[in-house]
């Protein structure tokens, strides 16, 4: 229902008298005159077929909530899905801070009236720097997919070479992004893995390295959950060829697990979603890139890099952009890749998270995760037909469960589990057809023993039923 002179709360100057006063001051009689530059041939004369508006806030709320009600959440179900988006506890203060209007609605102001934005992001960079044991961390990019793609392109620019080596255990979706991002400037060569352990096949790696290689990109823990123990060896091999070691890491694992910089990584990247962001249906992600504080690395970042400096008053901290003219904001296509609006609010949140956790919290968290996931693996291994972990390696919070001997597909199993209000691990049968019916299970600090035991019981029931089929 469109009433002429309808006044909407979001549009103060839709009040007719106000419009008239403004038109008078401009010296015209109708808003239509302001569109004079749009020729008739470009005017849209039709109507946009959108639903009737819901004007009252109350009715709007009910309308949206009714749609959302159709969603089944990871609070209502016990969730074992991971695969690059992980369910960790979100401290109340993280939501408090990123819900504050001051942060939520700020954008591109100066380091004066928006000083807090600069300081909180500088602190995020600094806190991540300690976690990663590196001196340079960027203002976040979109997510891990973007961060690793940029890290790969950085290695190409730094070495002047065009090939990147990547192990076959990488997330196929992340590989798809890297492929698009590299083409046609860089090419990708895949490296095989040991079918027992999942670890990179170093012989294949050595055979494929050449003086065209810009670097190797591997993840740790890998997409399939196990820890790549050969990090130092991989770095040594790639360095001997004059290339760079680029490592993707889950930062929440760095309370106890050695950071990649300590086994030769030159550029480190990953996703901070686990550091204080809700699942958000995949909307809680932000990507980081880190390196040593050497000019040849710093100058290749496309992202903003906030640095600390002085002001005209002794003792005051000021902030600003480091080497701004390196970016596309500074020099358009002559800059490194591009920069825009990415995931700053999540960077601020991750800083809050790390400030709350401190070194003890991060260590304790890692220990609890290891214990709970090892417990889950142990209990799963007791179920006949299940082989777990599929890879004979040490895992962090994720592991591959092999259901091939059960006679059931992961799809069928997960369907049954849903009836028990459990979201089973991610179905890997399309991403890794060679593994057959395998699923990626993720266990974190949010899983109580009861949650894990409930899943075990449900799986046992499901697999017994399955065996009864002719």
């Amino acid at each position: 229902m469109s009433k002429k002179n309808f006044v909407h709360p979001y549009i103060p100057n839709s009040v007719p008298e106000v419009k008239t006063a403004m038109l008078q001051e401009i010296g015209i009689s109708d808003i239509g005159e302001l569109y004079a530059d749009i020729p008739e041939t470009l005017r849209f004369e039709g109507e946009m077929k959108l639903p009737e508006p819901i004007h009252s806030e109350y009715a709007l709320k009910r309308h949206v909530e009714k749609i959302l009600e159709k969603n089944r959440t990871c609070s209502e179900n016990i969730n074992f899905l991971g695969g690059g988006c992980w369910q960790h506890y979100v401290p109340a203060i993280c939501d408090e801070i990123n819900g504050r209007s001051e942060f939520l609605t700020a954008y591109a102001g100066e380091p004066y009236e928006d000083h807090g934005r600069f300081q909180s992001l500088f602190e995020y960079e600094s806190l991540m720097g300690e976690l990663l044991d590196m001196d340079v961390v960027n203002v976040p990019t979109y997510d891990w997919y973007q961060a690793c793609s940029t890290a790969v392109r950085m290695s190409g620019r730094i070495t002047g070479r065009e090939e990147i080596l990547i192990p076959d255990t990488i997330s196929p979706d992340r590989l798809a992004m890297i492929k698009n991002y590299c083409h046609p400037v860089m090419r990708i060569t895949m490296v095989s893995y040991d079918p027992e352990t999942g670890l990179m096949d170093l012989n294949d790696f050595k055979a494929k390295i050449s003086d065209h290689t810009a670097g190797v990109y591997f993840e740790n823990p890998t997409y399939l959950g196990f820890i790549e123990e050969q990090g130092q060896a991989i770095s040594d091999i790639v360095h001997a060829a004059g290339a760079l070691s680029v490592v993707g890491v889950d930062p929440i694992s760095l309370g106890l697990i050695r950071p990649p910089s300590q086994y030769g990584a030159d550029i480190v990247c990953g996703d901070i979603q686990g550091l204080g962001m809700h699942l958000n249906y995949g909307g809680g992600h932000a990507g980081f890139i880190a390196s040593r504080d050497e000019e040849k690395f710093v100058m290749e970042y496309p992202s903003r890099l906030f640095g600390i400096t002085k002001t005209s008053v002794e003792g005051e901290y000021g902030f600003g952009d480091v080497a701004y003219d390196r970016t596309s904001f500074g020099v358009r296509e002559k800059g490194k890749e591009f920069v825009g609006t990415h995931s700053a609010l999540w960077g601020i949140t991750a800083g809050v998270y790390l400030s709350l956790m401190g070194p003890q919290g991060m260590q304790e968290l890692n220990q609890v995760i290891l214990q709970k996931s090892q417990y889950a693996v142990q209990r799963l291994s007791e179920i006949p037909g299940i082989k777990v972990p599929r890879f004979k390696s040490v895992h962090f919070k994720e592991f591959v469960v092999d259901f091939n001997q059960t006679g059931l597909s992961v799809r069928e199993i997960n369907q049954t589990l849903r009836q028990h209000r459990i979201f089973g691990g991610k179905d890997l049968s399309h991403e890794f057809p060679d593994l057959g019916q395998c699923a990626l299970y993720c266990v974190t600090e949010i899983h109580s023993q009861e949650d894990i035991d409930t899943m075990i019981t449900a799986l046992q029931k499901c697999l017994q039923k399955g065996k009864k089929k002719p």
Partner: protein, 520 residues
């Protein structure tokens, strides 16, 4: 009730806490958050968990994060928040091209529902029918708004959408075996830097058209730039100047004739909703920033979303998955034969989508048109006033109206007083205002760009203008006062010289301590 009196300028002072860097709050032993404990039975069965790790993979020293108790962490960040001037707090019309409008709080209530926050992107489609319905409906809304045929909500921002457009253009030509021949993308100097830079990521040579004396991209330059090497055109309209290019359809025709594709950067579509569309101008692709026109908050710089649209002819190249509907169920569709793959993980930033959905549903088609009309009214109202302001000019399009924003110049004021656009920006902070200059390079000298949007009342526009008047008056009578601003902000004049010097720059606190030798 109107008054002819000049609107008062606030005696504003921003909070100034002189807050240390977080590491300086370190007090050994303090805890901010305790972690869930492991159950005794688990520990009995698996031990300490850590022993399973090979020793060379164990961290030798704990990460040197600060140790701070919970309330102190909260206090620190709340103080930092007060050192930010969010749109909710000021008449935020000075961030041109950013479309800083009202982000309705009801949308925040909805976005914080567990029915949004506690969804995993790999959940079975059957368990997220609500999320998929919202995504699908936004697709249909944007089709109506743009006239194009399919939308992907995957790109994480406008620049990512541009990368996707450049990728689709490339894939399209590769399919026709013309990609090697077509290695050039054309854009304009008043389009966003990412229209050039993201295309360059895909190996394209960028040809940039400069403006003619009307401030429009030069048609003759376009004709000279187009050839059998042309892959496509990436362009904004209206551009950052707020001037609508009436020849845009002809521009696209020229590029199409040469065999190229045309991508419309509609990051900001706020002035033209319902008035003119991508379709009628013959664009093949377009994108909208949901964190601009569609009222999702800017978040200090994201998360946002660049909703990417394409004609049917290009649907199969879009990133996967799309959201589809079979009449009874919504589902993720990965069956796009020529897909460019992915430009982001998973399906996109769902909370941003939800806010955009609620905003559109609150307004409807007539409401969206009113948004555009009032945004344009507000812009021309301010333009009328600024044109009378001493020292200020609105270059190009003399005597003509603008669409949603204007690129102004303080060049005259600078020549007469020595006060720069940066000086004025810093002095405006003393009144609780932002003012942004321009993208680089500064084609317009001493630039400033104002984009009112539809969100601010006439009284607030007058208030902002009074701030400008006051600073202009100061520039002419007491330039030093302006040049040493700000006085009422969070800090004083920043020394930027260290930020370009590799010996001195410090991107982390640990680097700062190393280089500047101060004790923590």
């Amino acid at each position: 009730m109107t008054t002819a009196k000049k609107t008062k300028v606030r005696k504003f002072h921003q909070a100034k806490w002189d807050e240390p860097i977080i590491f300086e709050l370190n007090t050994k032993g303090e805890r901010g958050l305790l972690v869930p404990e492991v159950e005794q039975e688990i520990e009995d069965r698996v031990g300490d968990g850590v022993s399973a790790l090979p020793s060379h993979m164990i961290r030798q020293e704990p990460p040197a994060l600060p140790e701070i108790s919970q309330m102190r962490v909260l206090k620190h960040y709340l103080r930092l928040s007060q050192h930010c001037l969010g749109a909710d707090f000021n008449v935020d019309i000075g961030q041109g091209t950013c479309t800083i409008k009202y982000n309705p709080k009801i949308n925040e209530v909805l976005a914080s529902s567990p029915k949004v926050t506690e969804l995993h992107p790999s959940q079975d489609d059957s368990t997220v029918q609500g999320a998929l319905e919202i995504m699908y409906k936004i697709d249909t809304f944007l089709r109506e708004i743009s006239g194009l045929d399919y939308f992907s909500l995957q790109p994480g921002g406008g620049s990512a959408a541009i990368l996707a457009m450049a990728s689709i253009i490339q894939a399209y030509h590769e399919y026709r075996r013309e990609a090697e021949q077509r290695d050039e993308i054309i854009t304009t100097i008043f389009s966003h830097p990412s229209d050039a830079a993201a295309a360059a990521v895909k190996g394209y040579k960028i040809i940039t058209l400069y403006q003619n004396e009307d401030g429009l991209p030069d048609m003759e330059a376009l004709k000279a730039a187009v050839s059998e090497r042309t892959a496509g055109l990436l362009i904004t309209n209206p551009e950052d100047t707020g001037i609508f290019n009436p020849h845009i359809k002809e521009f696209n025709r020229i590029v199409h004739e040469a065999g190229g594709l045309c991508g419309y950067d509609q990051a900001n579509a706020n002035g033209i909703l319902g008035m003119t569309r991508a379709k009628e101008a013959d664009f093949d692709m377009c994108f909208f920033n949901l964190h601009k026109t569609f009222a999702s908050p800017h978040g200090c710089g994201g998360p946002g979303l660049g909703a990417l649209g394409a004609t049917s002819a290009l649907r199969d190249y879009l990133p996967v998955p799309l959201v589809d509907f079979d009449g009874s169920r919504y589902f993720l569709n990965y069956e796009l034969p020529h897909t460019i793959g992915k430009v982001r993980g998973f399906q996109g930033v769902f909370p941003v989508m939800l806010r955009a959905y609620a905003w559109i549903m609150s307004l409807g088609a007539e409401g969206l048109k009113e948004v555009a009309r009032v945004a344009v009214l507000n812009n021309n109202y301010i333009l009328t006033k600024i044109k009378k302001l001493r020292g200020a000019e609105a270059p190009y399009a003399t005597g003509r109206h603008r669409i949603e924003q204007v690129r102004y110049s303080w060049e005259k004021l600078y020549r007469e007083t020595g006060v720069t656009t940066e000086d004025i920006t810093l002095r405006l902070a003393d009144f609780g205002f932002h003012l942004w200059s321009s993208h680089h390079p500064f084609v317009v000298p001493e630039p400033f760009t104002i984009e009112p949007t539809e969100s601010y009342s006439k009284a607030e526009l007058d208030e902002y203008f009074s701030g400008l008047e006051q600073v202009v008056e100061e520039a002419y009578s007491d330039p030093e006062k302006v040049k040493n601003a700000p006085y009422n902000s969070v800090v004083h004049r920043i020394d930027h010289s260290t930020l370009d010097d590799p010996e001195k720059w410090a991107i982390t606190w640990r680097a700062y301590l190393k280089k500047h030798g101060e004790k923590s």
